[in-house]
């Protein structure tokens, strides 16, 4: 009896055998014009457009950036994606706002412990919009922390940390820890009573840890005592080390989101490939 070929079940195919999704299509306004006008006179607008095109082509020839941009911008987000999916980008926007206001505060702030408090008073009382920018930085930290926690809760409820996005969850938790680190190091910088004593207690808490605790506390203080090296150290960690790490981690986070795709809400199911999805 001849062996019958098994009917192929699409669900039993290997992942690598699946057809690769085509590049996302360009919107009509960006598609190259197939029929160039046949006219001898070229208007200024057309010449400018042609110039712009050649600049873009020049850059693209040297970077191949258009393929990446096309894949990133015109990739599809699955059906059902809703407002809950804006929390991640909102957190990133809060971080960008923190970076901007932080740059302006850094122009006037002096991390020397003898004058740090006076430089903050100067920002608040004399610098144009100083207290406003200081306030934006202070409350922006709260907004960023809240958005981050809600974004994490959304990811958890939607099961979006599961296969294949496990690594992106790990990167997200690292971002949470870095953000808490920003809150801790930034709190000392105004150098008023509240921030000073809270940070002493905070560093002492680190010091209670087994084994590395005392070393960690010494590193944060810049010595065994809370001294003149402590504030510059917190400042450097707050404005260079941790923000750099956050920016790099956001880059990895976004790369993985673009690579793996935004999750669909768990309620939307595609029953059989090719047929309409339905809510179950």
């Amino acid at each position: 009896m001849p062996k019958m070929p098994k009917p192929s079940n699409p669900l039993h195919k290997k992942v690598s055998d699946l057809p690769k999704p085509p590049m996302p299509p360009l919107p009509p306004s960006l598609r190259p014009n197939p029929k160039p006008k046949e006219r001898s006179e070229v208007t200024v607008g057309e010449a400018a457009a042609a110039g712009g095109t050649s600049v873009v082509a020049w850059i693209d020839e040297r970077t191949s950036g258009s393929g990446f941009l096309r894949g990133f911008l015109f990739r599809k987000v699955p059906k059902g994606v809703n407002w809950w999916y804006t929390l991640g980008s909102a957190t990133m926007f809060a971080f960008i706002a923190q970076a901007f206001t932080g740059v302006f505060l850094a122009m006037y702030y002096d991390p020397n412990p003898t004058v740090a408090y006076e430089s903050m008073r100067h920002i608040n009382n004399e610098v144009f919009l100083g207290e406003f920018v200081h306030g934006m930085h202070k409350w922006g930290a709260t907004v960023m922390t809240v958005l981050l926690f809600v974004h994490m809760a959304r990811t958890f409820v939607f099961g979006a940390y599961k296969y294949p996005r496990e690594l992106n969850w790990v990167v997200g938790v690292l971002l949470l820890m870095m953000t808490m680190m920003m809150g801790f190091t930034g709190y000392l910088l105004p150098f008023d009573q509240r921030s000073f004593w809270a940070t002493i207690v905070g560093v002492n808490l680190n010091g209670t840890g087994p084994m590395i605790g005392p070393y960690l506390a010494d590193f944060l203080r810049g010595g065994a005592e809370f001294g003149s090296t402590t504030l510059p150290r917190f400042y450097a960690i707050h404005m260079m080390l941790v923000p750099g790490l956050i920016a790099a981690l956001i880059g990895i986070h976004l790369y993985l989101v673009a690579k793996l795709g935004t999750t669909a809400p768990p309620w939307v199911k595609a029953e059989i490939p090719g047929q309409d999805e339905k809510r179950v």
């Binding site: 990739r75 407002w83 940390y161 309620w267």
Partner: protein, 233 residues
């Protein structure tokens, strides 16, 4: 998730994705609107709540309230819940580090294929408990005041020391009779009966973490404070 479930997920996902809309302009539009809302909220918080500075940091001060930024309240309040000094490290590093480890490793121990929250009772219960616990501890921290009055009757010569204790933030973590917070630090109502005067002074200079050192307190104030504490029996 086994290989088959992984394939099925990828297959379903690619089908859903094919039905979706392009990231630009649909998702970008929503994200941009959200960014505007975030900016407006930050601006209004800055305008309404401001950024006032407290008094300048002073290591020799006698009046301060060590309070962390609000999103660290829940960590600080753990110390009030876990009191014995030998267990302090459980609250300061044990529980936070275990929580972080559980969070980082979540996708590696929760590997089930189910994504719908109503079919993941354990995960949802754990999340609800975590949120309730963190909210409770945060509110506890938000409402835990640091009173500056000690209503104890003391002889004339200890009144100055009592005032220093009341104004030095001791009540944030210690209880004196009816006043102050019961924890993270021990109750000081009868501290003089438990510790000799020299031990009290040593503890003020080199306290158990997280209590800050009172080494820089002016000598006459520290003497008054030590005398007052040693009197409490």
């Amino acid at each position: 998730m086994d290989a088959r479930q992984k394939e099925q997920y990828l297959r379903e996902y690619s089908a859903l994705k094919a039905k979706g809309k392009p990231f630009f302009p649909y998702a970008v539009g929503k994200d941009s609107l959200m960014a505007c809302i975030v900016l407006i909220v930050i601006i209004f918080m800055s305008l309404i709540l401001g950024a006032e500075l407290g008094p300048k940091a002073d290591p020799t001060t006698t009046s301060y309230v060590p309070r962390p930024e609000w999103y660290f309240f829940f960590l600080f309040e753990l110390l009030r819940v876990i009191k014995p000094p030998e267990l302090v490290f459980v609250a300061t590093l044990g529980i936070p580090n275990i929580a972080i480890a559980l969070l980082v490793l979540l996708p590696f121990y929760d590997r089930g294929p189910e994504r719908r929250p109503e079919r993941r009772p354990i995960a949802m219960t754990a999340m609800a408990l975590t949120i309730v616990a963190m909210t409770y501890l945060t509110l506890l921290g938000a409402f835990a005041g640091s009173p500056t009055e000690i209503d104890m009757e003391v002889p004339e010569q200890y009144v100055y020391g009592k005032e220093i204790a009341a104004n030095s933030g001791c009540l944030g973590c210690h209880k004196f009779g009816e006043n102050g917070n019961d924890g993270p630090g021990p109750n000081l109502t009868t501290i003089g009966a438990r510790l000799p005067k020299q031990a009290i002074e040593r503890t003020l200079d080199n306290p158990t973490a997280p209590m800050p050192s009172f080494r820089d307190l002016p000598p006459e104030q520290k003497e008054a404070l030590v005398n007052f504490l040693a009197y409490l029996r």
